[in-house]
C-alpha cells in the first residue's frame, strides 16, 4: 500500500460491513472509524447487506484497490475464505470483528460465549431450574452461535424446556415478534415460569413487542449486546436483563492496533481482542448509565 511520508503514515483501509442495519457491529465499526478519522487514514466502506458473496467481492475489490488492511465484520471467517485468500496472496492482513479465527485473519474479537455466561447464569437462577424457555438464535454469524452453545450447555440437565427458533437478519425483530406470539398461545399465563432469550437484543425487543400486545407480564426477557433500545427496555422493566458488551471499546482497541498489524503484515501472530461484558438490570441501570452515558443515548 502507499504509505505517506513522515511518522504518521496515511493508511488505506477497506471495511466490509455486515449489514448497515446490524446495530452492534455498526457501533464497533463507528468507534474504529472515529479513530481512523482522527489519524487521517483513508477508509472505504462497503455494505454487502448480509451476503457472503458480496462480502467476498468487496474484499477482492479492496485487493484491486491495494488497501493496507481489510476489516471484515461478523461474517464467519471460514465462509470468507475466497476473499481472505486473495487478501493474503496480496499481503494484506485481515482484521475480523467477531468472525472467528482463520488463516489470514490476524486480529479477531470474540463476541460469543464469554459475553453470555453471566446473564445465562442469572437466567437459571431466576427460573430456579425449571420452566419453559424460548430462545432466538441466528446461525449467520459466530457471536450468536457461541452464545447459543453456552446456553445449551448451561440448561442441559435442568428442568428447563427450550424451544429454539432461528431469526433471520435482517428481519429479526419481526420474526421474533411472530414466534413469540405463537409461543405465547401455547404457553398461556400461569403455565409455569416462562422466559424468552434473544441471542441479540433485537430479538428480545421483538419478544417484548409481542408481550405488550398480548398484555402478558409473566414472562422474563433477556438480551445480549446492549443496544440503547434494549437498555431503555431494561429501565422500564420490559426486559429483565441485558448483557451489555462494550464493542466500542473493542473497536477502538482494534483501531489502535491497526498500525502494528499493517507493520507485521500477514505473518503476524493471530490475536483475539476480548469484548468486556456488563450485566445490566433495572437495579443496576442507573449506575450503568452514569458509567456509559454514550450507550443509553
Amino acid at each position: 500500500g502507499d504509505t505517506g511520508g513522515g511518522d504518521d503514515p496515511a493508511y488505506s483501509i477497506g471495511v466490509v460491513q455486515f449489514s448497515s442495519s446490524e446495530e452492534t457491529s455498526e457501533t464497533a465499526l463507528r468507534a474504529y472509524l472515529d479513530h481512523a478519522d482522527d489519524q487521517g487514514w483513508e477508509v472505504t466502506k462497503v455494505d454487502p447487506q448480509g451476503s457472503v458473496d458480496k462480502a467476498i467481492s468487496a474484499m477482492n475489490d479492496f485487493v484491486q484497490k491495494g488497501v493496507d488492511v481489510i476489516v471484515a465484520t461478523v461474517f464467519p471467517s471460514e465462509s470468507l475464505t475466497a476473499g481472505i485468500r486473495a487478501a493474503s496472496a496480496a499481503g494484506i492482513p485481515v482484521i475480523s470483528f467477531a468472525g472467528g479465527p482463520a488463516d489470514g485473519v490476524v486480529v479477531d474479537m470474540d463476541a460469543g460465549r464469554p459475553t453470555a455466561t453471566e446473564i445465562f447464569e442469572m437466567l437459571l437462577e431466576d427460573l430456579d431450574g425449571e420452566g419453559d424457555l424460548l430462545f432466538f438464535g441466528n446461525n449467520q454469524g459466530p457471536p450468536c452461535m457461541g452464545r447459543e452453545a453456552e446456553l445449551m450447555e448451561l440448561v442441559a440437565g435442568t428442568g428447563i424446556e427450550v424451544t429454539r427458533k432461528e431469526v433471520p437478519i435482517p428481519g429479526h425483530v419481526e420474526a421474533a415478534t411472530q414466534f413469540t406470539h405463537a409461543w405465547l398461545a401455547e404457553h398461556p399465563a400461569g403455565s409455569g415460569p416462562l422466559a424468552v432469550v434473544g441471542c441479540l437484543d433485537e430479538a428480545a425487543l421483538g419478544a417484548v413487542s409481542a408481550l405488550r400486545q398480548e398484555r402478558r407480564q409473566d414472562v422474563l426477557v433477556y438480551g445480549i449486546n446492549g443496544t440503547s433500545a434494549a437498555l431503555h427496555a431494561v429501565e422500564s422493566g420490559d426486559i429483565r436483563a441485558v448483557s451489555f458488551i462494550d464493542v466500542a471499546a473493542a473497536g477502538r482497541t482494534a483501531a489502535e492496533r491497526t498500525p502494528e498489524v499493517i507493520e507485521q503484515g500477514t505473518d503476524a501472530e493471530p490475536s483475539v481482542i476480548p469484548i468486556p461484558a456488563v450485566l445490566v438490570t433495572s437495579e443496576t441501570y442507573t449506575s450503568f448509565a452514569e458509567k456509559y452515558p454514550g450507550a443509553v443515548q
Binding site: E186, R212, Q213, A229
Partner: protein
C-alpha cells in the same frame, strides 16, 4: 327482430361438473375451514379460544393492510415490489419526525403515509411516463427508498425516548379488541367499496383486464394506474407506521419481510371465490389463512421446517385445487 335471439342450446350441467365448480370456487376456503376444524379438535383449550382468535386477527392486521394496498396495483394489472421498502422507510420517517423534530403523533403518522404516497407517485411516474415495466420500476424505486432510509437513519433503528403514546396505537384495546383489528376491518370495508362500488375501482378493474380496451372506452388508464400505485404506497406507508407503533422504534429494514408475505396473500386470495382475479376479500382471507397456519404450527410445537412446508403447501394447494377443479368443471 326477436327471432334473432337464438337461445343457446343448453343442457343441464352434469352433477359432477357442478361439484367441481363448487370446489373451484370454495376450495381455498374449505382448506382454511379444514385447518380450523382440525386445530379446534386437537387443541380445544388453546386454539379455539376467544383470546386466540383476537390474537390471530391482531397478527393479521398489518399484513392485511399492506396486502390490500398491493391488491390495488395487482387489480390494475401492475406489480409493486417496493412495498416492503416503503413500509420500512415510512416507519423510520415517522419515528424521525418525532425524535428529531419533536412533532406530534398524528403528524408522524401522516408523514409516514405521505412517504408512501410519494413513493407511489414515483412508481406511477416511472411506469406510465417513462414506460418502464412495473417490476423493474418498483424494484428500482424500492432500492432508492432504501437509500433514502440509510441517508436519514444511517442504518440504526430510530427509537422514541417516550414511546407510550405511540405504542398505545398498537396496544390499546376497545371492547377487548386491539385497535389494529379495527383498522384492518375498517380499511377492508373501505377498500372493498372503492374497488367495487366506485367508478375509480371499476376503472381499475377494467384497466387491469384489458388496458387497450379500457383506454378506448375513455378510461384514463395511466391515471388509474398511478392512483393504484399511490393507494398501494399509502397503505404500505401506514403499515410501516403501525409496525413502528408496535415496538416504539423503527428499524431500517423492518418492513421488508412484508413484501413476499403480501404477494403470497394476494395470490392466494385470487383463488378464493373467484377464478384468478385479485380482490379484497380474497386477500384478507389469504392473510388470515397464513396467520392461522402459523398459529397452528406453533400450538402443535412443530419444527421450524414444518412452518415452511406448511406455507409452501398452503399456497400451492390452495390455488391449485381451485384451478384444477375449474378445469374439470369446464370439461
Amino acid at each position: 327482430m326477436t327471432a334473432t335471439t337464438i337461445q343457446p342450446a343448453l343442457v343441464q350441467q352434469p352433477r359432477s361438473a357442478q361439484l367441481w365448480l363448487l370446489l373451484g370456487r370454495y376450495g381455498a376456503l374449505m382448506m382454511l375451514a379444514a385447518l380450523v376444524l382440525v386445530m379446534s379438535a386437537l387443541k380445544p383449550d388453546t386454539f379455539a379460544t376467544g383470546n386466540n382468535v383476537v390474537n390471530i386477527l391482531n397478527q393479521s392486521a398489518l399484513s392485511a393492510v399492506i396486502a390490500m394496498g398491493l391488491t390495488f396495483t395487482l387489480v390494475t394489472g401492475e406489480f409493486d415490489l417496493s412495498i416492503g421498502n416503503t413500509a420500512s422507510l415510512a416507519g423510520v420517517v415517522a419515528c424521525t419526525v418525532i425524535v428529531r423534530h419533536d412533532l406530534s403523533i398524528p403528524v408522524a403518522i401522516l408523514s409516514g403515509i405521505l412517504v408512501g404516497i410519494l413513493i407511489g407517485l414515483l412508481n406511477g411516474f416511472v411506469v406510465t411516463v417513462l414506460g418502464v415495466n412495473a417490476l423493474v420500476a418498483t424494484l428500482g424505486v424500492g432500492t432508492l427508498a432504501v437509500g433514502v432510509n440509510y441517508a436519514i437513519a444511517g442504518g440504526t433503528p430510530v427509537s422514541l425516548s417516550d414511546p407510550d403514546g405511540f405504542l398505545e396505537i398498537s396496544l390499546g384495546r376497545f371492547l377487548g379488541i386491539p385497535y389494529p383489528v379495527y383498522i384492518m376491518a375498517g380499511l377492508a370495508l373501505l377498500a372493498w367499496v372503492v374497488l367495487n362500488r366506485t367508478v375509480l375501482g371499476r376503472s381499475m378493474q377494467a384497466a387491469g383486464g384489458n388496458a387497450t380496451a379500457a383506454e378506448l372506452s375513455g378510461i384514463r388508464v395511466d391515471r388509474v394506474r398511478v392512483v393504484g400505485f399511490v393507494i398501494c404506497g399509502a397503505l404500505a406507508g401506514l403499515t410501516g407506521v403501525l409496525l413502528a407503533t408496535r415496538t416504539g422504534s423503527a428499524a431500517v429494514s423492518a418492513g421488508d419481510t412484508y413484501l413476499l408475505a403480501a404477494f403470497a396473500a394476494a395470490f392466494f386470495g385470487s383463488a378464493v371465490l373467484r377464478d384468478g382475479q385479485f380482490h379484497i376479500i380474497g386477500t384478507v382471507i389469504g392473510v388470515i389463512t397464513v396467520a392461522v397456519g402459523f398459529n397452528a404450527i406453533a400450538l402443535l410445537g412443530m419444527e421450524t421446517y414444518w412452518q415452511y412446508f406448511f406455507q409452501g403447501l398452503v399456497l400451492i394447494i390452495g390455488v391449485g385445487v381451485g384451478t384444477v377443479a375449474r378445469r374439470r368443471a369446464a370439461k
